[in-house]
């Protein structure tokens, strides 16, 4: 199954920060990791990653640097900052509140089989 794009929109920032909290990464690496870790449930339009990364960089939640791979390909890496880590914590809390609320509603309205 594929997740609804709108469901994902707000949480992509959370996912990106979470990935970066485990180490410096470049854009494609994050896409590949998101896909493999979610068992391909998420396949976002890859381009949308970059406005998110650039916005985080503008907020100083991440910093970036270019690094050349042994193949000669120059990739832009992102590193999470202290500010980014506290933003991640905030967003994690929001997310857990949100998912609890959704689950509570789903549990309450679970229709009894007729």
């Amino acid at each position: 199954m594929r997740a609804d794009k709108n469901l994902l929109a707000g949480s992509t920032t959370l996912l990106v920060l979470s990935l970066l909290s485990k180490g410096d990464k470049y854009g494609y690496e994050m896409i590949a990791e998101l896909e493999s870790r979610s068992n391909r449930a998420f396949t976002l339009k890859e381009g949308t990653l970059y406005p998110i990364l650039h916005a985080l960089e503008k907020e100083k939640a991440v910093i970036s640097y270019e690094k050349e791979a042994p193949t000669g390909r120059v990739r832009k890496y992102y590193r999470i900052t202290r500010r980014g880590l506290s933003l991640l914590e905030e967003k994690q809390e929001d997310w857990s509140l949100f998912s609890k609320a959704v689950n509570a509603i789903l549990a309450g309205t679970d229709p009894a089989p007729a």
Partner: protein
């Protein structure tokens, strides 16, 4: 790999299509490099997973996965504001320019900078005139008094003192004169060059007083009674020099005490032996 006809649908085409919507040109290069690396990574990953796939198809799929270039370009444009971008660029440029100018200025004025921190010990007008007529002077002493005085962060010392005897008619009798170069050091550059000279007066061991200019004016004292005066000469961030003198000193006096007590008791209190002493110059 790409003939001109292949431009449409190439990675370069995609990057240009994105950048077309980003108004802040200086960021086009970085955006294109980042997206190109991403597209190449994606195409390589496809080629690895599906070796049978033709390279053009891998590139096409990589671009398709990226999404609409216009949508991406417009989103990036929101984040690469031309106003902020140019402000930042001009800010960096002007900071660099200032740094270069400051460096150039420092280089051309390196000697002045050096003296600013080492303080030139130039004589003022009065001392210089005496030194010039040195041979003609009826010299009693030429020395560097050992005494120093510390007060309120300032350290006062006398670099050179000249005591001369003269039948100076200005005071109606034979008298002694003390000319001295006062050195004042202070660790705080904001407190350099204390303006105390108009209120620095002197008293000899016989009890005669030699009022300062400030006292003379304030109390209407006659200059004939003797006189303590002078001028500042050089002032640097940490050291200031003064060209000072006391004239019309009683010829029988052995010692002279310099005093500054305008703001309290004996703020400056420096005794100079009139026969000389300490290290003679």
């Amino acid at each position: 790999m790409s003939a001109p006809g292949d431009f449409y649908g190439s990675f370069q085409w995609y990057c240009e299509a994105v950048c077309a919507y980003v108004r802040f040109r200086p960021d086009h290069g970085a955006i294109s490099r980042e997206l190109t690396a991403h597209l190449e990574d994606h195409a390589d990953a496809l080629a690895e997973r599906h070796p049978e796939l033709p390279p053009t198809e891998a590139r096409r799929r990589a671009i398709a996965a990226m999404g609409d270039p216009e949508e991406l370009g417009r989103a990036l444009d929101q984040l690469h504001s031309p106003l902020l971008g140019w402000l930042q660029i001009w800010w960096i440029r002007s900071a660099r320019l200032l740094a270069v100018l400051a460096l150039l200025l420092a280089l051309t004025r390196a000697d002045a900078l050096f003296t600013a921190f080492t303080a030139p010990s130039e004589y003022g007008f009065h001392m210089a005139a005496l030194v010039e007529r040195y041979e003609e002077l009826d010299l009693v002493a030429d020395f560097r008094p050992r005494e120093i005085w510390r007060q309120g962060g300032y350290t006062f010392s006398i670099e050179r003192a000249l005591v001369t005897r003269s039948a100076d008619t200005a005071y109606g009798r034979e008298s002694l004169s003390l000319a001295y170069q006062l050195r004042v050091t202070h660790p705080n550059p904001w407190q350099r060059a204390p303006d105390f000279r108009a209120w620095l007066w002197a008293e000899d061991d016989l009890g005669n007083r030699y009022p300062s200019r400030g006292q003379q004016e304030q109390y209407g004292l006659p200059v004939r009674a003797g006189d303590s005066a002078g001028n500042p000469t050089a002032s640097t961030p940490f050291v200031s020099y003064y060209d000072l003198w006391v004239a019309g000193i009683d010829p029988d006096a052995k010692e002279l005490t310099l005093r500054f007590d305008r703001y309290g008791e004996n703020a400056i209190y420096l005794t100079v032996p009139l026969e000389g002493g300490a290290s003679h110059v």
